[in-house]
Symmetry: C2
Subunit: 391 residues, 2 copies
């Protein structure tokens, strides 16, 4: 009797409950991070009543059809506290400059005719015209950016506009990635028959980054339980979750199983293809999620069981999922949930694009979607609807 | 006569033509980068013929109904070059291990009954069963990852699986961000009336990052042409494009205009709200795109004129655009393309969520879309369709 995919997913979710807390970081470092709480404005925005145009500050009451006023001064965008406007006069004013007390409208320079020290304005003006009132965007205490918001440029801009230089964000989940197997060698080295390159390390590190997590430890260990134990000890201090690949099936030299099963690891065989063998453990309080070593199995297991949870913690949008029309028939193993590599087509179609083997790492790279075939289904005809996860 | 938005966009595009070239970087650093060319496989994958299961390597010819074979050895996943299989015998084999010459099928351990040094296999086997042939995923010379691909975990995985440790990616566009204005102060400091906080610096830096560019210089300058000149000289050496905010309208103290107009800058007033004043220049061979200083104008100008081009260079997907149903009526200025801040609603609706003022930086932060109202349109009724850019 195999464990169901849903039961395992629920168990992994029950383990990946983090009390992350928050941290205050500079705005420059906050793009893509998620706010820990709602930020309210420490000030009114605009900070002061200012001109929306380059032009002339006037008292609207002074204007009728064709009014000529003496120009008695000038307020640049740099001026702090201009003198009150004397009724029946005007001052030049720059965009963004403080509107002088007594003035209540701005006449844009293009609507004004200047002759020496006088300006003639053709028509009357509404009080408040081209004046930006203090607090007309937000008042002190108003919400600026809500809690749980994934920060984009526009959120950082409003925080900066109020003078804030930092923002409180949810601490990122810290992930340790441990790949295993004495036959597994780092890319860039030479291998002999029997040895394979470690595709899982870069895949898990990149996938963890893509879900908004922070990877704090990256290690490979041989099939030596003592080596794995030392790395787990190291990971415990720096990670909220430890991911391993390989070493959990039924053969000999299964280093993860050998070390962790006596320490209470739950080793299972799921009703799932690829990715049947899966295990979970808690090592000195830190959850350990153990994937099978075949690279396609590792990547799909991460996507199925861990990625959705990490994305939630990071405030990132969920994976795009939905139903599409199959372009060709497919067959599937009875009693197992099958994850087939596929390509999205036009008109909401999807086409299985590679074989089901868990070693077909190029087939996965060439795919842009997974077709999820339920346990009870053994065949589907072209034209039938099927669940699709976009990659 | 104002310049049209489309004409300005085309002019900016004509300036932002980069000969970026490529660079080879480690796989660990390549998530989200775009491949400069198609990578073909340096090897066959799998690298060698190997077992898909833990079990027994057999010669399919030897098996009938209930065959008992002597177990004459064991091949671990670490073994390099096993001895050929003697006909009429079997060897234990681990998942991923080299299949010995002469064997052509694997019997999974769960289908085999072991008694001492003998194993009994219940039924015949198809030649090739549970054997992964060398090259069954890709052959040497096959395409692994196409050029122009934005790299995800699965692409890095297949490159690593072939032993490659680096990948050639398109060099990122290098951006310099220069904000201007003597009245503009950094967040985290004290301001007096007349001064405002610099919201544009963090906004442009974050927005440039979000489009896959690399920000290589970040500066603020006062309204002093000599200061701006010094910073431009600095930027020329490190940037492919220079972005400025502020200092381009018709008033005095317009530092960007003052410095660059005599050097051939094209200063325009666009038929656009917000963001009317815009300028472009080429400074010692480097394009300079100059935005107006109001923070909403700066952000929308970047999004309208520069972001689409930077996204293309980075191989990122285009902005999501489309048409939605307005929930309320709106009015717009004749002869100007209006970019209104809005929120997406259910059933493909959109609602204008803040006023049109270019100072409403909180209004923009609270928006998740822009409504684009064409120049000729002065009003739209609730229920009418309108163009929407998702933020």
């Amino acid at each position: 009797m195999h464990t169901s995919v849903d039961a395992h997913a629920a168990h992994v979710r029950s383990l990946l409950v983090f009390d992350l807390g928050s941290e205050s970081i500079p705005l420059e470092a906050a793009l893509g991070r998620t706010t820990a709480r709602t930020t309210t404005s420490p000030v009114d925005l605009p900070l002061f009543r200012n001109s929306q145009m380059d032009g002339f500050a006037v008292r609207a009451l002074d204007l009728e059809v064709s009014t000529t006023l003496p120009i008695v001064g000038e307020i640049s965008a740099r001026a702090a506290a201009p003198e009150p406007l004397v009724p029946g006069t005007t001052v030049r004013i720059m965009t963004g400059a403080v509107v002088p007390p007594g003035a209540d409208a701005i006449v844009p320079v293009e609507d004004a005719t200047v002759t020496g020290d006088f300006v003639t304005i053709a028509r009357a003006r509404r009080s408040g015209e081209y004046v930006r009132d203090r607090g007309s965007d937000v008042f002190v205490g108003d919400d600026l950016v809500l809690g749980g918001q994934c920060l984009a440029a526009r959120h950082l801009a409003v925080l900066a506009a109020t003078g804030l230089a930092e923002v409180e964000v949810v601490r990122r989940v810290r992930v340790a990635v441990i790949t295993t197997g004495s036959e597994v060698r780092p890319p860039g080295t030479e291998v002999v028959p029997g040895q394979v390159y470690d595709a899982n390390q870069v895949a898990l590190v990149a996938a963890a980054h893509a879900t908004g997590a922070r990877v704090t430890l990256i290690r490979h260990v041989d099939d030596e339980p003592a080596q794995l134990l030392a790395v787990l000890d190291e990971a415990v201090g720096v990670a909220d979750v430890i991911l391993t690949s390989g070493g959990i099936s039924k053969g000999d030299y299964e280093v993860v199983r050998e070390l962790l099963e006596p320490r209470g690891a739950k080793v299972e065989h799921l009703a799932m293809q690829p990715g049947g063998p899966q295990a979970t453990a808690v090592f000195e309080g830190v959850p350990v999620i153990c994937f099978p070593g075949n690279p396609v199995s590792t990547q799909l297991s991460f996507e199925a069981f861990v990625a959705p949870i990490l994305r939630e913690h990071a405030g990132l949008p969920a994976r795009r999922e939905g139903f599409r029309t199959l372009t060709s028939k497919l067959t599937s193993v009875s009693g197992k949930r099958q994850f087939l590599r596929a390509r999205l087509g036009e008109n909401d179609t999807v086409e299985v694009s590679s074989g089901p083997g868990s070693h077909l790492v190029a087939g996965l790279a060439a795919a842009d979607a997974l077709v999820v075939v339920p346990e009870a289904v053994t065949s589907l005809a072209a034209g039938e609807m099927v669940e699709v996860w976009e990659l």
